[in-house]
């Protein structure tokens, strides 16, 4: 099937001239080539998706096109004229802007101040706040954001910050907008809103380069799709010719086996964890639930429904009280990460880079940080044991590294996630809570992480998975709890675990405030 697809890739005749054309673009860092020979047309009024596994070279390509890095080979042309950017500012002046995947905003400034940061409007000798606020309101409305110009960015939820970031890119007229995983942080309804914004941009004649891991978005949104693999270009196709499975196969370069392991069915064992009336952040989020050995319990809901907050409260990472928390038969009165870990419960955060890994440290310090006391009974560090532990983790979790001294920040997202999983598993827990287990990682690593989860559950442990990706929640969970407005609103089992049911429970029947009153 792949060979058939490859044949069609050459046969395209562009009716409109490309606004941006890249010819044989390459990038090497020293002896290591990360991107080679990419030839690409981007036309006005189209959404051009770039897909590929992590490490395929997508980010590098984006950096080259937006002037954040200089190519080591190949040329670029805008509307037929050859161009080269010395830096991102030149690229922006030429009309190309990159919206980063990470949120790069100053949290203590207002939305309007952030939007105009570095290009403030002035009147006489002072900044013209009134005009900036007015224009901010306009552009925020254009991207469908509910944030107000005078809100402090640090007070906004992640999704709104992402929209502010897109709004910042749209402040000036742009010819090409590059969106790097714009939906990675968003919940489903917010994703839909974002896709509408992108369609809107396309209708306005902007060329959109769209990078995403979510193939369903690419399928519904893109006009053309370019696939990268291992730093090489595989081809460009009209989106109508590819379905999600074909895209995935082109990305991986092999036929995909089943992504999700077979389910285990409902567990009848006695609960290993029972949480009664846990109240987090002074009652903002509340819930009771049980977890049984041998099951994957999914927790679904929109972003902001309180899923992460509830679990962070359970781990003592936020102010919380509970009637009782019974873990492995023990009543935990004063929860904190350490006591929970020794009682058999660990939590893997959704914020891999901010709260999970020491990016400037090597594998060893990262891997052993949490279970330091288990590994080293004495005050002194046992270095030999640490090295052997790292080796075992690299093997068991298939962490791909060239040397063991590599810094965690240099690993790809998938390898970072596997390292984190190895880290929390070092304490030999009986319950593992994983928040967004596969956010921002590619399909190959995803399927591996799913099978790790399956393995540990089949070994009699329990796993709680918080996920905003509905297919994942449906594909993995034996039981799903849905949260809305800081409360559990539904429990789904067996055949009832469907995307529709989860969305319905998470979003429907009245608004959040009503849900809060009822519970």
């Amino acid at each position: 099937m792949i060979s058939r697809l490859l044949e069609t890739s050459g046969a395209e005749n562009a009716p409109t001239p490309p606004v941006l054309h890249a010819e044989a673009l390459s990038k090497a860092y020293g002896p290591i080539t990360v991107l080679s020979d990419v030839t690409l047309d981007i036309r006005t009024g189209e959404v051009h998706a770039i897909i590929g596994e992590n490490g395929a070279g997508k980010s590098t390509l984006m950096k080259l096109l937006s002037g954040h890095a200089a190519p080591t080979g190949g040329t670029m042309a805008m509307a037929g004229e050859r161009i080269a950017f010395a830096d991102a500012v030149q690229a922006e002046d030429a009309g190309i802007v990159l919206v980063h995947q990470e949120i790069l905003l100053a949290p203590d400034l207002t939305v309007a101040q952030n939007l105009f940061l570095g290009r403030e409007l002035s009147r006489f000798f002072s900044v013209d706040d009134r005009k900036m606020n007015r224009r901010s309101a306009e552009v925020l409305e254009r991207v469908g954001s509910t944030a107000r110009p005078l809100s402090r960015v640090g007070d906004l939820p992640l999704a709104q910050r992402q929209l502010v970031q897109i709004a910042r890119a749209l402040l000036d007229d742009r010819k090409v907008i590059i969106l790097d995983e714009p939906t990675a942080m968003l919940a489903n309804d917010e994703v839909d809103a974002l896709l509408d914004i992108v369609r809107n941009l396309r209708a306005q004649g902007v060329a959109v380069l769209y990078i995403s891991h979510r193939l369903e978005e690419v399928e519904t949104l893109a006009d053309r799709v370019t696939v990268l693999r291992d730093g090489k270009m595989i081809g460009t196709w009209p989106a109508t010719e590819l379905d999600q499975r074909q895209m995935a196969e082109l990305m991986v370069g092999r036929e995909l086996s089943m992504l999700y392991p077979p389910k285990r069915g409902l567990s009848a064992a006695d609960p290993v964890l029972t949480v009664n009336d846990l109240s987090v952040d002074h009652g903002k989020t509340m819930g009771s639930f049980t977890v049984r050995p041998g099951e994957v319990l999914g927790i679904g809901g929109m972003i902001g429904a309180g899923r992460t907050e509830l679990i962070e409260g359970l781990m003592g990472l936020r102010p919380a009280q509970a009637d009782s928390i019974i873990l492995n038969g023990k009543n935990v009165t004063q929860p904190d990460v350490g006591t929970m870990m020794s009682a058999g419960l660990v939590y893997l955060t959704e914020d891999r880079k901010g709260k999970g890994l020491l990016l400037n440290e090597g594998l060893g310090p990262n891997l052993t940080l949490q279970a330091l006391n288990n590994l080293n009974p004495n005050v002194r560090l046992d270095r030999r044991k640490e090295t052997s532990t790292v080796r075992r983790a690299v093997q068991d979790y298939d962490i791909r590294v060239r040397t063991l001294s590599v810094e965690a920040g240099q690993l790809s997202g998938g390898n970072q996630q596997k390292l984190l999983l190895a880290k929390v598993m070092l304490a030999d827990p009986s319950v593992v809570i994983i928040d967004e287990p596969t956010r921002g990682i590619d399909i190959g690593n995803k399927s591996q992480i799913y099978s790790f989860i399956d393995d540990l559950v089949r070994a009699g442990k329990a796993c709680v998975v918080i996920s905003s990706e509905l297919p994942e929640l449906v594909g993995l969970s034996d039981r799903v709890l849905v949260m809305r407005g800081g409360r559990f609103v539904a429990e789904l089992t067996g055949e009832d675990i469907t995307e529709q049911n989860i969305v319905y429970a998470a979003a429907s029947s009245g608004n959040d405030t009503e849900g809060r009153k009822r519970a």
Binding site: D351, K355, P365, T368, L372, L381, R383, Q395, L404, S405
Partner: protein, 331 residues
């Protein structure tokens, strides 16, 4: 990957010199070379020992400061704290001298160690329990300690009892096999510091807290305790420096240890420890302290630059060190 391949993954990429880590030692060597070229007296054993001995105070306090800075903290109170501890120690020794004789010295030293550690604990607890910036807290305690020593000396000086002087004198001026005691104490403290920082669980947690306190918290590290403990270590080191300092001048004055905090922070930063935390070099700090003292010495020995400009040269050095770090470091 097969297990054979895993076993074949090298621990690191062969032997690679990390220039960033060696920089303070290379700089020290260059300055010493310069000194030797400028004045032949510089390389005399007497002068060298004198310089090393004088750098001991900043080096010893610097070991503690390395811990504080590695956790992402900062202690501005160390200079005043040092003066305060010196004052308390002299008062204790003088009070004990009639009854204990020369034994007043070790007991007084013990008192100093306890008081120093308690001062550090005070700083640490206000910072972690009160959740206030270390800069502000230690700015406050800096003033408090300075005022207390001024009050204790009544604006003049507080001298150690005559009967104790001769017994106490060797702690600064004496030597063992030709090596002055302050140098030996510096080596012991730095070795101890290096052991704690690089070879113990606590040291691992110090680095973790400094490089990302959220990650540490989410991994079950008691961030507050680690930070507080770093300040206690700092206080202890200040007390050790105080013990070495008293026999040198035999008195505490309101200006004892003045501006030492800046010299110490300079030494730590020249040594390669990141001011924002997470990366610490104990031996770099010692090299940093030596660099500061050697520069001062070279300038005194040479006629080319006025010794009144010592601080300016030291200031230039810290800026150059940071620039070098910026351009030789990764990315």
């Amino acid at each position: 990957m097969s297990s054979a391949e895993i076993a074949a993954i090298p621990e690191n990429e062969g032997f690679k010199i990390r220039w960033g880590d060696c920089a303070p030692f290379i700089a020290l060597a260059l300055i010493i070379l310069l000194g030797a070229l400028i004045n032949s007296n510089f390389m005399s054993t007497n002068n060298i020992l004198n310089v090393i001995t004088r750098s001991a105070f900043i080096a010893i306090i610097g070991v503690g400061a390395t811990f504080v800075i590695a956790t992402g903290g900062l202690d501005l109170s160390i200079g005043s704290m040092m003066a305060f501890v010196v004052g308390i120690m002299i008062m204790a020794m003088n009070a004990l001298a009639p009854s204990l004789g020369a034994w007043a010295i070790p007991v007084g030293a013990l008192v100093a160690l306890v008081v120093g550690s308690l001062c550090g604990l005070l700083n640490g607890l206000i910072i972690t329990v009160g959740r206030i910036e270390p800069f502000i807290v230690t700015l406050g305690t800096m003033g408090i300690f300075r005022a207390l020593i001024t009050y204790m000396t009544d604006g003049g000086s507080l001298s150690i009892d005559r009967s104790l002087r001769s017994a106490y004198r060797p702690v600064y001026f004496g030597d063992f096999l030709g090596i002055p005691y302050p140098v030996i104490i510096t080596l012991v403290i730095a070795s101890l510091g290096a052991f704690i920082l690089y070879r113990t669980k606590y040291g691992r947690r110090v680095t973790a807290v400094g490089s990302n306190s959220d990650v540490a918290r989410f991994s079950g590290v008691h961030v507050g305790r680690v930070r507080t403990m770093a300040f206690v270590i700092q206080g202890f080191c200040v007390a050790v420096a105080a013990i070495c300092y008293v026999p040198r001048l035999g008195a505490a004055t309101p200006t004892t240890g003045q501006l030492w905090e800046l010299q110490v922070i300079t030494a730590v930063v020249i040594g390669g420890t990141l001011l924002r935390g997470g990366k610490a070099h104990i031996w770099g700090t010692v090299a940093g302290a030596l660099i500061l003292e050697v520069i001062a010495n070279v300038m005194v020995l040479s006629d080319m630059v006025s010794e009144y400009l010592v601080a300016a040269v030291q200031g230039t050095i810290i800026i150059i060190a940071m620039l070098a770090h910026r351009f030789t470091g990764p990315r």
